[in-house]
Every structure is written in structure tokens, then in C-alpha cells.
């Protein structure tokens, strides 16, 4: 999943244009508990003539982990740039600035020019991309991973990428990971034998991989039939198998849990969330549930939200044993929950402590105010009012563009480093709701990109 947040605790005054976020240019650090999936790493050694490798599968199929491992193994033979796409990359100038930075980091000798600010899409396709293609042809074997490709919606940025794929030299390999169809006319690439596709069916765990995780790495000592039952029940969905592993680690009677799990009709996540939580000490359970409202977290922030002490140590300990708590830095300071897991925890929080979430948001708001992290403070201001989505009203008029209060909040958050999805998480809104606010803001301001909207709003004194 995309890590697009800067990981310091200092206030961020976004410059114009926004600075490059270096966390976008690296995969999350490799973790001990992951299985090296040899059959898939081999599949990624694409045959000559492959222009595009596409990993297309829903959340929790281990796409990012697989590509991170492949990149590390390949590094001696071939430089591989990494870019985690977010919603901001729908502006072609932003996208290609990041692509150039990612390639420059992997291939320092590549002769690629920096992308000028506020360049239009036509100039990128006419001038910048041909130069980049020539530079790549001169450079030799190289690859680029675009993770979270689904964040690119239809529009000039994705069109420019499609144009690029058509013309890349045969020594270059573009690899994308996406949750939805990438919209890159895969049909034509497939027909020409230029496409390598790995989909959910292939990305799912087979019994060998599940055994490697459950028995070899986690030492659960399951029988072959039990592993097979788990794989069948989860249909190989890696997130489901890992949830099962977490439940089994602390279960007093593993075979009882396996048979109860494989016998029922309840959905994997529904069945397992209780099991996973109940095996932790009560204070760790409280930490997991109550910090699930946070987009990212550190010890002091959790202490403030939980009104207790010792969260930093509990977070560090939890991250050691739970892959769903993702470290955002190598200092063990900032973390975030895997999106799927955070969602499950929020459901459980509302179930166990109905109506507590607004109070937690209020405490997070106070902490962020004190520490100057403005965008996140605003996010919790919304959460503090109500966890439900208030009706969107045409609020009080703010300036001639007539933005509603909520649109102003979204627009202010758009000036920061957060993607629409992150903003949605912060505001407790769906990604689509944030997206429709953004579209409405663009329409009202007559803007076609995030940076243009911010520019116009600033010059109109709206933000």
C-alpha cells in the first residue's frame, strides 16, 4: 500500500509546487515474517519483448511485498526504480517528476532532464518523453515499478503513460501493481505478446507457500490437511491466511480453531478479527482498537489518544509480531495499520465502544494542534464532530468561488502531501466522497489539476 506521508513530526508548509516525497520512491522495508515466493519471482523474469508486467489483484494479495522482494533480488543485474503512485500523480507534471526522480535514484548515470514546473501534458508527450525514451535506450537494461497504479484515474497523466509504454525500448521493463483494471489497453499488448499478467488466481498462496508461512516461519506445526483447509477456506487470499496465522499463534487448541474456521460460512475477516484481538493483552487490544482512527501513529500520539503511557513500546512490540502494523521509518517511531486491518479494527471499536470514536478524534486533534501537523488536525476536527458523514449542504459562501465549508477543508488538505484516499481516511469519508468533493472544487475553481486548484484558491484568498 502507498506510504505517502512524511514521517517527521514537524509542521509542513507545502511549497509550490509540493516537494518530492522521498517515501514514495522506496518500497516498505522487507520484514522477517514474509515468505519469499520463488515461483512468482521467477514469473517476474519476463520474456524478452515484454513491455508491461501487470500485477492486478485486490488488497491483501501481497503485491507490494512480492515486488519489493523481486527488486531486491534483481538489484545486482538490473537497476529498478520504485514509485508508489498516489492521487496527486494524476497531474502529468507531478507524475513525470516522480518517475524521473525514481529512475534517477535507481540509475544515477541515466541522462534524464528534470521536469520543469507547471509544464503542460502536450509538452511532456512531445518533448520530455521522447528524450526520456532515448536516454533509457542509451542506458541499457532497467525497470520501473509503479505501485498502487489504481490511484491513476483516466486523464492526461495515464494517457501519457500509455503513450510511453508503446514506445519504451525493449531493454526497459515497466511493472505495475494495481487493485483495479489499469486502463492501459492491455488487449493490444496481450495480442502482441508484450504483456505479462499476474492476477489474483496466481498471486494467491498455494499449499507450499502457506506451509512456508504457517509452519516454517511462524512455527505453528500444522498438519498438511489443516494447511490445505485454510488455503481452501481463504481461497489462498494471503491477508486471510495471515489473519488465520495470527489467530492460531495464540490459540490454545489449534486444530479446534482450524476446524471451526473451515466449517463455517462466516466471511474470513469477520471470523478472524475477534480471534486476532482476543489473543492480545487487554492493554494491547485497547491500543489497537483506539489507534485505528489514526492515519499514522507514534507512541506519544497514541498515549494522548488513549490517555495512558507506554504506547511506544507496545507499538514496537506489536510491529515485530504483526505485519499489519507497517513501520513508516527505520527509527521505530511512526507506523500505520494496513488498510484492511485498520478497517476491521474500526468496525470492532464501534461495536465494543459505540460513540467513542469522536472523543478519540478530539484527543488526536488536540495533539496534532500542539505539534503543528495541520492537515491531520483538520481531519480529526471532522471526526470529532461526528463519525457519520454529515449531509453535504451548500454551506456559507466563501468568496466568489462559492466553496462549501467542507470543500474548503478538503482543499486545505489537498495542499499537503496526502492522497485523496489518505484524506478520506483522515476525514472518515469514503475515497469516492473525497473524490467528488475534489471534482466539485475543480469545477468551481475552473481548475484541471490539484496544483492549479491550489494556485487559484490561494490567489482568490480562499485558503
Amino acid at each position: 500500500m502507498g506510504v505517502t506521508l512524511q514521517t517527521g513530526g514537524t509542521p509542513q508548509q507545502p511549497a509550490r509546487p509540493p516537494p518530492l516525497l522521498m517515501t514514495k520512491l522506496h518500497p516498505p522495508a522487507g520484514r522477517e515474517q514474509t515468505v519469499l515466493r520463488v515461483r512468482l519471482v521467477k514469473r517476474l523474469q519476463a520474456p524478452a519483448g515484454t513491455k508491461l508486467t501487470a500485477l492486478a489483484a485486490p488488497a491483501g494479495y501481497g503485491k507490494t511485498t512480492l515486488l519489493g522482494a523481486w527488486r531486491e533480488l534483481q538489484a545486482p543485474q538490473q537497476p529498478i526504480g520504485w514509485l508508489t503512485i498516489d492521487e496527486g500523480d494524476n497531474d502529468p507534471a507531478v507524475l513525470w517528476s516522480y518517475v524521473t526522480a525514481a529512475l534517477a535514484e535507481a540509475c544515477p548515470e541515466l541522462e534524464a532532464r528534470a521536469i520543469p514546473d507547471h509544464i503542460d501534458a502536450a509538452t511532456i508527450v512531445d518533448v520530455v518523453l521522447p528524450e526520456l525514451i532515448n536516454a533509457l535506450a542509451a542506458f541499457g537494461p532497467a525497470a520501473l515499478v509503479l505501485d498502487d497504479f489504481h490511484e491513476l484515474t483516466s486523464g492526461p497523466a495515464r494517457d501519457s503513460l500509455a503513450w510511453f509504454i508503446d514506445r519504451v525500448p525493449s531493454t526497459f521493463q515497466l511493472v505495475i501493481a494495481t487493485r483495479s483494471e489499469p486502463g492501459l489497453s492491455l488487449g493490444a499488448l496481450r495480442a502482441h505478446g508484450e504483456l505479462l499478467e499476474l492476477r489474483a488466481a496466481e498471486l494467491g498462496f498455494d499449499a507450499t507457500e502457506a506451509t512456508a508461512l504457517l509452519n516454517d516461519l511462524l512455527g505453528l506445526g500444522l498438519e498438511r490437511e489443516q494447511v490445505e483447509a485454510l488455503v481452501e477456506r481463504t481461497e489462498g487470499w494471503p491477508a486471510g491466511i495471515y489473519l488465520a496465522a495470527l489467530s492460531l499463534q495464540a490459540a490454545p487448541d489449534r486444530s479446534e480453531l482450524v476446524s471451526r474456521f473451515s466449517g463455517g460460512n462466516r466471511h474470513v475477516v469477520d471470523f478472524l478479527v475477534d480471534e486476532v484481538l482476543n489473543h492480545h493483552d487487554p492493554d494491547v487490544q485497547t491500543l489497537m482498537l483506539r489507534s485505528s482512527i489514526l492515519g499514522r501513529m507514534c507512541g506519544p500520539l497514541c498515549d494522548a489518544v488513549l490517555e495512558q503511557e507506554g504506547s511506544a513500546g507496545r507499538l514496537r512490540e506489536l510491529a515485530r509480531t504483526n505485519l499489519f502494523l507497517v513501520p513508516l521509518d527505520d527509527r521505530g517511531e511512526w507506523y500505520r495499520f494496513h488498510q484492511l486491518f485498520a478497517q476491521l479494527l474500526r468496525v470492532e471499536l464501534e461495536h465494543r465502544d459505540p460513540g467513542l470514536a469522536p472523543t478519540l478524534h478530539r484527543r488526536a486533534l488536540a495533539w496534532h494542534r500542539e505539534h503543528g501537523t495541520i492537515e491531520e488536525a483538520l481531519g480529526h476536527a471532522f471526526g470529532a464532530e461526528s463519525v457519520e458523514e454529515p449531509p453535504v449542504r451548500t454551506g456559507p459562501t466563501r468568496g466568489q468561488a462559492d466553496l462549501s465549508e467542507r470543500e474548503v477543508v478538503v482543499l486545505r488538505m489537498l495542499t499537503g502531501p496526502l492522497s485523496e484516499r489518505d484524506i478520506g481516511r483522515e476525514l472518515y469519508l469514503s475515497h469516492n466522497t473525497v473524490h467528488s468533493h475534489t471534482r466539485s472544487i475543480f469545477r468551481k475553481l475552473g481548475a484541471s489539476s490539484r496544483s492549479e486548484a491550489i494556485r487559484k484558491a490561494r490567489s482568490a484568498g480562499l485558503i
Binding site: 462466516r266 469477520d270 469514503s430
Partner: protein, 83 residues
């Protein structure tokens, strides 16, 4: 346009998940879960589909049962998603 929708997903999920779908009614029928309720507009419907995907739930069917008119439509815009 506000309308009543029925969404069917594979796997049985507990009522507590209704919280993510503004209190849509949930029934579990032979290994599926049926969500029924008012959807304010297409953006909200797509938001619900995104959430189902985030939870790893497979979608089986979505159907519109009827558009809301008059008082029902007015009520659906008053932000009271819960029944």
C-alpha cells in the same frame, strides 16, 4: 439520485459491519450477505463498493429496487442513514 439498493456479497458478515455502510440492513443468507438500504447518490454507492473491496468481499449482485420520490427522498438527504 437517491434510491433503495440491494447489494449481495459472498460470505456472511456480522451486523457490526453495517457501521461502514451507514446502517444498511444486513441479512445473512446461505453463505452470502444481503445489504439493503438507501443510497444517496452514485458517489456513495461507489464508495460502498470500494469498502467491500477493501474488506476482501466478493460482490455477487447489485440492484436498484426503486428510486425515492417525494418525502422519502427528502428524508434521505437529512443525513439519517441509520434506521
Amino acid at each position: 439520485m437517491a434510491a433503495t439498493y440491494r447489494i449481495v456479497v459472498r460470505g456472511e458478515i456480522d451486523d457490526r459491519f453495517a457501521f461502514l455502510f451507514n446502517g444498511m440492513r444486513m441479512e445473512r443468507v446461505e453463505g452470502t450477505t444481503v445489504l439493503t438500504g438507501t443510497v444517496v447518490d452514485q458517489a456513495q454507492l461507489h464508495g460502498y463498493i470500494d469498502r467491500l473491496a477493501e474488506l476482501g468481499l466478493d460482490l455477487i449482485r447489485i440492484e436498484q429496487l426503486g428510486e425515492l420520490v417525494g418525502l422519502a427522498r427528502w428524508a434521505s438527504t437529512q443525513g439519517k442513514g441509520k434506521e
